[in-house]
Symmetry: C2
Subunit: 419 residues, 2 copies
Amino acid sequence: MAISNIRYGEGVTKEIGMDLRNLGARRVCLMTDKNLSQLPPVNAVLNSLAKYGINFQMYDNVRVEPTDQSFLDAIKFAKKAEFDAYVAVGGGSVIDTCKAANLYASSPTSDFLDYVNAPIGKGKPVTVPLKPLIAVPTTAGTGSETTGVAIFDFKQLKVKTGIASRAIKPTLGIIDPLHTLSMPERIVANSGFDVLCHALESYTALPYNMRSPCPSNPINRPAYQGSNPISDVWALHALRIVAKYLKRAIRNPEDREARANMHLASAFAGIGFGNAGVHLCHGMSYPISGLVKTYKPKDYNVDHSLVPHGLSVVLTSPAVFTFTAQIHPERHLEAAEILGADIRTARIKDAGFILADTLRKFLFDLNVDDGLAAIGYSKADIPALVKGTLPQERVTKLSPRPQTEEDLSALFEASMKLY
Amino acid sequence: MAISNIRYGEGVTKEIGMDLRNLGARRVCLMTDKNLSQLPPVNAVLNSLAKYGINFQMYDNVRVEPTDQSFLDAIKFAKKAEFDAYVAVGGGSVIDTCKAANLYASSPTSDFLDYVNAPIGKGKPVTVPLKPLIAVPTTAGTGSETTGVAIFDFKQLKVKTGIASRAIKPTLGIIDPLHTLSMPERIVANSGFDVLCHALESYTALPYNMRSPCPSNPINRPAYQGSNPISDVWALHALRIVAKYLKRAIRNPEDREARANMHLASAFAGIGFGNAGVHLCHGMSYPISGLVKTYKPKDYNVDHSLVPHGLSVVLTSPAVFTFTAQIHPERHLEAAEILGADIRTARIKDAGFILADTLRKFLFDLNVDDGLAAIGYSKADIPALVKGTLPQERVTKLSPRPQTEEDLSALFEASMKLY
Ligand SMILES: NC(=O)c1ccc[n+]([C@@H]2O[C@H](COP(=O)([O-])OP(=O)(O)OC[C@H]3O[C@@H](n4cnc5c(N)ncnc54)[C@H](O)[C@@H]3O)[C@@H](O)[C@H]2O)c1
Ligand SMILES: NC(=O)c1ccc[n+]([C@@H]2O[C@H](COP(=O)([O-])OP(=O)(O)OC[C@H]3O[C@@H](n4cnc5c(N)ncnc54)[C@H](O)[C@@H]3O)[C@@H](O)[C@H]2O)c1
Ligand SMILES: [Fe+2]
Ligand SMILES: [Fe+2]
């Protein structure tokens, strides 16, 4: 298990200029999105860069929910200058874009598909050295500051996929909870659901010793290695924080304790799933995002339709955990208990239903859209959704219970309406 | 926070030859102690090296509870050959010796004191690159496979001290619980007490945001940074495992579940204290070990007198936590509860006494020697014990409550007899 460096604390961003100086950086690429470029997190970074006289160029053209095109645009920017360090200030969209920019600028002759996950891309191992990347997360969601993953929407194929390699894991994550205070309600909610699903999926993922094939040479093992006693610690801890603080963080922007705890939980869950992996909620979320029609979520200050990542994973969670509970019912029951269910008289064979009910109640309380139907999908879309899930083997095969195409159809169908 | 790589599982040692091949190692230094060289853990490593045709030289002269002399002997061995990788198979004594051998062989013109902790040594930062080191722990104790610390007994000064630098942290820790099955009872007990104290001390250490001076440049911050929300997760998790499994692991060598869990707890607690630090039990343990008279513990197959590290830390724990509870009583009470105390009617101001009583009962149940008197110390030794604690500032200043020399005297005195 490998973990990136993390620095945590209110205001720790102010040292980022010194970190860059320690790294010997002489020409820094600062990436963010248009919305964030006007907000306090980017301001804090700019102040520190100025204070330490760090030479930088800013790219604020990151697309919220990045695409192959938006990745390529950022890569083009990175290739033009000879940057010797990267700073990403934003949510998963920014951090992932910055990882990709660093990777392809460091490997300028590679084709874009070279490093994209197979079977969509070639999934080549990264052997070139990358530049240091400091990630400053501003959502409490993806945990991307701790993972070697960069996700994008492959427009031609209408499906989300990504790049997964330990090489793109940030050198340092600066977790400064002050940055979460500017998040509007739905961004707190949706990025928080991502944390919830990272924790639930990594805790229920296929155990590391049941995964097959197990490459006999450790160097060939995938980043996602199945649930294991170490990732379990992170997953459970993150889940407890979500149970205690997510509602508070959503409802009250002034609740610093709640927002700070969710910010940490997002890194904890990231470390957990970055080692164990995620499974069906994430595997099925990629076509849910990729096939978006006209849905425009509240609070997202963008000009294109999108299904926020956290929403796209959580909407199938009741169906998914009802399906997977057959394999590790005790873990599903334990998760339900942590999320507030009274399990004293519960029967173990009902574990899946109990967890699903707990999740539905949780989402209902938080005014989440009533299932896939509410974000624009109908039964007619199910074949396309299933088709978009099939290439997501990297994660779907970490489901504790194997699934057929019929199973996937049934899961999408069960997720059309939640309440 | 930084964490080394870990591989965990029964039998995972068999891949070590392949790991070395992946590292491109052509000449490996294998370190262990005389006792272990006859036991299954070393055997498993030798088999894998043979299978993958790895060229190696074995050094089995590690001293249990190493000294400056024994470190120097191992360093001499390492300097003679041009090793390109190191493998340490053993407890903390072996892993620490191997770290020192790798460090000084990689920095051949350095004086031994250069890297030893100040104020005893010069505490210089390590800037030379080291060779990869794979640690295979065989005790469930030090967590040295996860830390950048190497401890030895400085004979002239009659005091234990060490080297602390992220640079000496092992490249990979192979945690194979099969290796714990050959441990005799007292080694399980004493190394388990080390885990217990790592968890308790790091959980109660001065919080990271109260430590001073806080070097303004992050690069100058010490490895031990005070308790923080991430080290807390590891400390509490390790403590829960100790509470559940330590007694079982000690009493029944066939209890694989208990021994495997303690093996993992040792790495967890190592990650916790490797980031947060330890405080008074460890600070005071160094003279307790260093000034040893004639004590020869049961089950240690060695020809010199010694106080095993775990024993030397745990004997002062009731006194220490009675003293420190004044600062974070709620954490002390929480620890007592995890260790089995019924705290439903407890008053917060009694937290220290409650934790101390819980520890005393725990130690009594496990037939631990009745205090410092039982291992050969008397009141007359207290000034020397205090004097030996004073240079241990690196850890003692992480105590949540500052101590005077009188306080230290009183703590040693209160630790003479436990029951
Ligand atoms: N790399 C990984 O490990 C990983 C894991 C999960 C998800 N992801 C990916 O990350 C992306 C989602 O990232 P996200 O959920 O963090 O959101 P995001 O980066 O897409 O940002 C969502 C919106 O929130 C705004 N925002 C962000 N921080 C803000 C703040 N502090 N104040 C005000 N507004 C703020 C942004 O400007 C944007 O409009 C998806 O593409 C998803 O697939 C990556
Ligand atoms: N580097 C760190 O982070 C750190 C932390 C705490 C302690 N330490 C140091 O580590 C040393 C103590 O290490 P330890 O407690 O692991 O014990 P150890 O290495 O001193 O070994 C104790 C005895 O147990 C035997 N032994 C070890 N494994 C065995 C097995 N599987 N089967 C049978 N016998 C076995 C050894 O041969 C030896 O006789 C001390 O010097 C202490 O100061 C280091
Ligand atoms: Fe996610
Ligand atoms: Fe120790």
